[in-house]
Structure formats: C-alpha cells, structure tokens
C-alpha cells in the first residue's frame, strides 16, 4: 500500500507523499533563501553563509542522496545476488541500508563542519565591566557594516546593541 520507491505506480501512496515532501521542502528552502537574501548584511557578524551551508548540506543532501539511491534501484544499477553476498536484503533494502551507511559516514564530516560553522568561541570572551568582549566585537563589526550600507544610500541609524545580554 505504501510501495517504497515505486515512483511511477499511481496505486500506492509513495509517489504522492514524495511529491508533497519535495514541494514542501523546496518551498521551505526557498523561503530560507529569500530571508537570507534580505538580511545577509545584518546577519554578517554571525557568518550566516557557513551556517546556511552546513545545515542545508546535512538536511537536503541526505534527502537527495536517498532519492538518488532509490532511482538507482529503479534503473537496476543496484542489483543483489543474495546467494553470492550471503544476505537477506533485497535491492530496495540495500538502497536504504546504503543511505544509512552513508549518513553515518557523513555525520563524522558534518560534526567537523558544524564545529567550524557554530564555534563556541563566538560566545567566549572575558567580561570586563560587565560587557562581553565578544559582544563588543559583534557590536563594532555591526557598526562598520552599517556605515558601509549608509554610504550606499540605504540610510538608517543601525547600531548594534550587542552588549545587551538577553535574560
């Protein structure tokens, strides 16, 4: 009734659910992109580009990887001779297992990428007179960015209030 991977069979639920997922995912991704496009100047102090890339890489690439593997099963590029390899897996299960195996391996690299994209050092900093140095640099950087954007003609008196520690 579900028919995993039977993308051209109109009698099972899989193609509809896959289509729904794809559209909804593409729309979410598109919304993130237009949000990024509108605010990248203000987000500059937190280096949004790497953060966008790592988060998207993990979520969307793993999805497309799964789709590619299913496609490869469909095209019979993945075949299993169960007697030879001593397994009880069929081709679709092999594709799923490959996907899981690849995610396990990729997560190692994703962990490293995350540690560069979301470094704790962004929030380090000795407190001097109650103002965090790190927040101060964020604040100064923000001022520079706003100066630049002021000279471009998009004027507003944007001052970062970075030293305000949210409760």
């Amino acid at each position: 009734m579900y028919g995993d991977g039977q993308i051209l069979n109109p009698l099972v639920a899989y193609p509809y659910l896959a289509l729904l997922n794809n559209v909804s995912q593409a729309w979410a991704m598109y919304c993130l992109i237009i949000f990024y496009r509108a605010t990248y100047q203000e987000l500059a102090p937190i280096r949004p580009f790497y953060k966008f890339c790592t988060v998207k890489a993990v979520v969307f690439l793993s999805f497309w990887q799964g789709q590619t593997l299913l496609f490869m099963v469909k095209m019979q590029w993945i075949k299993v001779s169960q007697r030879e390899t001593k397994t009880d897996y069929d081709a679709a299960e092999v594709a799923t297992a490959m996907q899981e195996f690849l995610i396990c391996v990729e997560m190692f690299f994703a962990a490293i990428a995350h540690s560069y994209a979301f470094p704790p050092s962004e929030y380090f900093g000795t407190f001097i007179f109650g103002i965090s140095i790190c927040a101060l640099t964020v604040c100064l950087y923000g001022l520079c960015v706003h100066r630049c954007s002021d000279s471009d003609g998009t004027a507003y008196d944007g001052q970062h209030k970075g030293h305000v520690r949210p409760a």
């Binding site: 579900y2 237009i34 793993s62 929030y123 998009t154 305000v164």
Partner: protein, 210 residues
C-alpha cells in the same frame, strides 16, 4: 581593566591544554581511520557479509562523530552567555549524534527502519525551524531597530526567476516575514505528517497489499 594574574595564567594554560587535546585527537582519528580501512579490507578478504562490514565501519564513524559534537555542546554550555541564541545552536548541533546513532541503529536492526526514519525526519524539520528562529532571534535581540523594522526598511525585492512568474513578492515588513515563517513552518508540519502517513501504511499497520 586589570586582569588578575592567576586568571590570565589559567586562560593561557587552558588554551595550551586545548591545543594539545586537539592535536592528540586529530592523531587518534587518523590512526583509527587507517586501522578501520585495513580491518574492513581484512574482513572483506575473509568473506564476511557486506552488511556486517557496513555495520562495523558505520559504527566506528559514529563513535568518532559523537564525541566531537558532545565536546562542542559542552563548550557552548560552559560559555552560556547568550542563552537565547545558543539554545538554538545546541539544538542544531544535536542533529549530528541523533542522525548518526539513529542511522546506525536502522542499519543494525533492519526491521525497525521505519521507526528510526520517523524520528530522523521529524528532527530534521525541527532543525530547519530552529535555524530560522536562530536568525530571527539574532536580528530581533542584537540589531537595533528590531527584526520587523530592519525588514521594513529594505528596498522592495523580487522573487527569484521561476517563482517570479507565478507569484507576487510581498511587501517588505510584516508580510514578508509572514511568508518566510509560514514557508519554514509548512515543512515542520508537512514532514511529520507525511512520515506518519507512511508509518501507518507500513506493515504491521498497512497489511493490505495492492
């Protein structure tokens, strides 16, 4: 602005300690990866089943990946200066151990794949939402005019090409933010929904075969 000397020294020592730890860790990782390649090849030569080797290799990678993230999270918690931002960062970082362990279990227990997939896909949507919230919280709390004002002062934009044919771009300001928010939340709702439909269509629930 005089820093106490012992505090200064401690900072230097902990920096040094971190550097040594990092070097040792990189070294250990390289050794483990080489040993892993050799042992996988050895297993292949001794005619072990393919899935057995896959479990083993994937397991080692998971064991390497999880401590990195836990170290990162611990560092964030140690310097928990901006809880409203770091809360989201920690949730995003937790994606790695959750994905990794979940996938390894799915690989090991083949019949439970559907349950593990469900968990993973729901967390994925949650991470996307958290990332969006992270950006908006930053703009709201740390930039002066506030999120809505910043957006409102932007010049009007257009949709990127294929969308620009069908859709009109909303006014910059509240409507634009609403579009983005709904776009992201749509995925957070849709993903668990389709996954749960799949969950109930799968055996043992979906016994009816076409």
């Amino acid at each position: 602005m005089v820093l106490r000397e012992d505090g200064d020294q401690r900072a230097v020592m902990s920096g040094l300690f971190r550097k040594i730890l990092k070097t040792v860790w990189v070294f250990i990782n390289i050794v483990v990866l080489i040993a892993l390649a050799l042992s996988a090849w050895d297993m292949h030569r001794n005619r072990r089943a393919a899935h057995f080797i896959a479990w083993f290799v994937a397991g080692v990678f998971v064991l390497l990946a999880v401590p990195i993230t836990f170290y990162e999270v611990a560092q964030h918690l140690e310097n928990y200066r901006m809880p409203r931002l770091q809360r989201h960062v920690i949730r995003i970082l937790f994606m790695v151990p959750i994905y990794a362990v979940d996938c390894w279990l799915a690989l090991r227990f083949k019949d439970g794949t559907i349950y593990f997939d469900t968990i993973r896909e729901c967390y994925e949507a949650y991470v996307i939402y958290n990332f969006y919230t992270y950006c908006t919280v930053y703009l709201q709390e740390f930039c002066n005019p506030g999120l809505e004002q910043i957006i409102a002062r932007k010049p009007p934009a257009k949709h990127i090409w294929p969308m620009s044919i069908f859709l009109e771009f909303p006014r910059m300001g509240e409507p634009f933010l609403r579009l983005c928010r709904h776009g992201v939340i749509n995925y957070v709702v849709m993903r668990p929904l389709t996954t749960s439909v799949r969950f109930f269509l799968f055996p043992p629930y979906g016994q009816l075969e076409c």
